[in-house]
Subunit: 205 residues, 2 copies
């Protein structure tokens, strides 16, 4: 009772420091000792609150995934005009990923390690409904002459590529161009407009 406030505080402190470390160094690159030290507590507490390192990670992973997925899923099923929808889609990536540029690498890394976890989480979110919705939408737009004949699957993969890859590429790009991460993210603000145009031109009937 008296301790409750403090208890929650410790748990949250672990959670937020673990998030930071996992995102920065990945699962294998982060030890629970690191997390304990950063949270100003000890290994036993982490296992007390979360059962295991794997479990703690699971919570943070899910959080990151939902954060990215939610907005995208919402956008893709809205009934705005098609090209506007494309813009908002791209815009969404930049809004989210500009603030958390580590997310794609984080997700990709850990999905490669443990694909089953993602499948499980996707199943819960029923992404097939959304997938079907946007595919139908594309087919409609083709029929109405808004965009040229195109394969929905390949089109979706292309937009995903253009929207996400620049962020995955951050570390390499900043190393090659010898610029700071901030400068690169700023550059991407312009790139965003570029790919919106790029996609529109590619699809104009």
């Amino acid at each position: 009772m008296f301790n409750e406030q403090n208890t929650i505080e410790v748990r949250d402190r672990i959670l937020s420091n673990a998030r930071e470390l996992f995102v920065k160094n990945g699962y294998n690159g982060t030890s629970i000792r690191d997390i304990a030290t950063a949270s100003d507590t000890n290994v036993a507490m982490i296992n007390y609150y979360f059962g295991s390192k794997y479990n703690l990670f699971g919570q943070i992973f899910e959080e990151a995934f939902n954060f990215l997925a939610e907005k995208i899923f919402l956008t893709l099923t809205s009934d705005r005009p098609f090209f506007e929808l494309m813009d908002i889609w791209i815009e969404s990536y930049y809004e989210i990923l500009s603030e958390y540029p580590q997310i794609p690498n984080f997700l990709l890394n850990e999905v490669n390690m443990n694909p089953e976890r993602l499948v499980q989480m996707l199943k819960e979110k029923d992404p097939y409904r959304i997938y079907t919705t946007i595919k139908k939408r594309i087919r409609n737009e083709v029929e109405n002459g808004v965009i040229k004949e195109t394969s929905p699957d390949y089109f979706l993969l292309s937009v995903l590529s253009l929207g996400v890859f620049p962020f995955i590429f951050t570390n390499i790009a900043t190393a090659i161009l010898d610029i700071s991460q901030e400068e690169y993210i700023n550059m991407l603000q312009e790139h965003k407009k570029y790919i919106s145009e790029f996609i529109k031109n590619a699809l104009k009937p």
Copy 2:
């Protein structure tokens, strides 16, 4: 003298098994014990020939990087017609990455772990010369009216995105679509043609 043949054989056996394991499981996911077992030898031999796990990994990383970079660099500086050059560029990714779909993830993972290594390797290859060449080429094509006004940097990043991301996405895509890796790679053969068209349409004056 008598052993030389055999010596080289052991060394090569370690190298090729290590490559396979590193590519499949990453640096942290691979122990020198795993490598020793797979190579039908022992840990002491690995340290005898390569000094350390880190050193062994370094050799393999450099090999993978050169393999991918060589062909791309060659393509980008050839004097073929522009759209043909784009096709060959995309084609190159698919040729190489269809056979070794793990390379992008492998590179990205390890670049995130140790950016300095990549910078060092890039410096040795003088990519700025190639970067300058292709940028000049794009500007020329714009002037000659072959393609519409476009930013070379953003254009290069877009083509890179379209060419590489589908391979990075392999594990997630196969998990979501519930198909085998082979089926997905086959799908990408069609996607390749799609993005060639996509790029051409986006750049048509």
